[in-house]
Symmetry: C2
Subunit: 200 residues, 2 copies
Amino acid sequence: MEELKAIQTLIDCLSKLPSIGKKSAERLAYAMIDMDENELLDFSNAIKNLKSSIHRCSNCGMYCEGELCSICQDENRDKNTLMIVSYPKDVVAFEKSQSFNGLYHVLNGAISTSKGISFDDLNVTTLFKRLADENIKEVILATNPNVDGETTAIYLAKKLEKYNVKVTRLAYGLQMGGALDYTDALTLNKALQGRQKIGD
Amino acid sequence: MEELKAIQTLIDCLSKLPSIGKKSAERLAYAMIDMDENELLDFSNAIKNLKSSIHRCSNCGMYCEGELCSICQDENRDKNTLMIVSYPKDVVAFEKSQSFNGLYHVLNGAISTSKGISFDDLNVTTLFKRLADENIKEVILATNPNVDGETTAIYLAKKLEKYNVKVTRLAYGLQMGGALDYTDALTLNKALQGRQKIGD
């Protein structure tokens, strides 16, 4: 039996989302048929209006609705510390953790030989402009702890040498709530190397 | 930091889908921002058009685009065997398995005391009409193997006594590819009770 066209179209759309396979897409599509007509209309509109109402902050590259994002406009942030992340969702993650009060710069990607993304494809022109213009004293490299993220961090660290800033990288180690025996060898190695004196 | 309104709206919509929690909804929403504008428009339209282009087959209750579904219209199906399922997606699952060539009847739910769904809320009026009008010799009860599905099957079996049909229930047992030590006690019990002579 063929799926009905309207259902198949929706399944195809849902399948394009990350970590949604064919099976999940089917399940979601069938669940959506049972949803309220108004809920579906809201959903449809939310998707349609997504792009048109979201822009990039001209300063840091984060998503925003106006010219500048709320973080860049916030007078209470520490203007001396700049965290460089790959993606807007990384900013969201750090903001939710409430562990950082400095500014961000979103590269919008990472150097990737497999995807053909080079350093110049990243949002770096404004980064260097900010380093020249703003009073930044420390740059925290917070790219992802994977091959692409590491490559980007190393490349960036090199590029930042000529600026008078302290360059740091997020620590590696055990995940909170994790278990030693479920932690991969590389992370265990990094956790050991990065061990700290208790009381520090 | 607050999420942007357009993103938050989409996250709220995505969170309403089954098995999509807040965290997954966030991840999906951020992935969708990076999607192509046309892809998003297609997605939006697929959701908007979902309800309007899908109806219920007036005979069996399955989703269809016309008056009758393709299965009810198919002359090559075995018209003597009727499988009763709770949901349209169960029909899709069986059709994909290519293990059944009879007709279906979709109850569109199951008796549930917790959800306040009684037998009369199900799509049963046409079921009894079919049993009276069509030449059905066997009814296979294929409701889900959970409390609501079992209740429905037992109730149905009682109701079907007055019709001259053989009533059967899907077998319980081990899942193909499963492992004994990961199988729950009740299923093991059912698998044991339902054991069959090799060669049958």
